[in-house]
């Protein structure tokens, strides 16, 4: 059954570190129109050379600073207010 209506843009919220099985599952589930937010241990992906991140990807600033990863942000960082705005904007949300 090929769905004709436009894909439903989904917000993926990931807090697992690279290497955790669910980290890989999440990355595979991300479609072009989706948005990924890295929180807690998932921000370690910013320093992990073996990880390729999707274009639409943000990381939580507090978690990035906690782990001293501020210089190597391959993505933009957001705060909680911005995360709330993203959850309001997306009709479909998956917390991994």
């Amino acid at each position: 059954m090929t769905s004709t209506q436009p894909a439903n843009p989904t917000l993926h919220i990931l807090n697992k570190p690279p290497g955790h099985p669910r980290f890989e599952t999440c990355l595979q589930a991300i479609q072009d129109c989706d948005q990924l937010v890295l929180t807690e241990n998932a921000v370690l992906a910013l320093a992990d050379r073996s990880v390729t991140l999707p274009a639409a990807c943000k990381a939580m600033k507090a978690d990035v600073d906690a782990r001293a990863l501020n210089e190597q942000t391959r993505t933009g960082t957001i705060d909680y207010a911005e995360l709330v705005r993203l959850t309001a904007k997306h009709s479909r949300i998956i917390s991994w």
């Binding site: 807690e40 906690a66 782990r67 001293a68």
Partner: protein, 116 residues
């Protein structure tokens, strides 16, 4: 008879890594020879200038640099994991020895335990 505690869990997400540090310091406090090996995502504990106050946590940088004074024999980090997470000599906290072969490190200790 010495104990090696291996930390392969990342900092802050869970309590596992912190419990391992407490374990090592307790062993050292009772004059049991003990060492710490960080590997996998665990090497991220060893990055300098962590500022976890915004997530309600404390940095372990001071504890790690004080470890020798508490009698912790060695703090080791697995070279391959350091490369994977971009941890060069300038990013690593002081007092960390790089270890190439984990098997050799493990064989050098009679007891080996993992955190979490």
């Amino acid at each position: 008879m010495s104990t090696l505690i291996i930390v392969d869990q990342p900092p802050y997400g869970t309590w596992a890594g912190r419990e391992a540090l407490d374990m090592v310091f307790s062993l050292a406090a009772f004059d049991q020879p003990a060492a710490l090996l960080f590997t996998g995502a665990g090497v991220n504990w060893l990055r300098k200038q962590q500022a976890p106050d915004a997530i309600g946590q404390k940095s372990v940088e001071k504890n790690l640099s004080a470890a020798p004074m508490f009698g912790v024999e060695e703090i080791l980090a697995d070279t391959a994991s350091c490369e994977r997470f971009g941890l060069g000599p300038e990013q690593l906290v002081s007092g960390v020895t790089l270890a190439e072969n984990l098997q050799d490190v493990m064989n050098a200790h009679s007891n080996v335990a993992f955190a979490g």
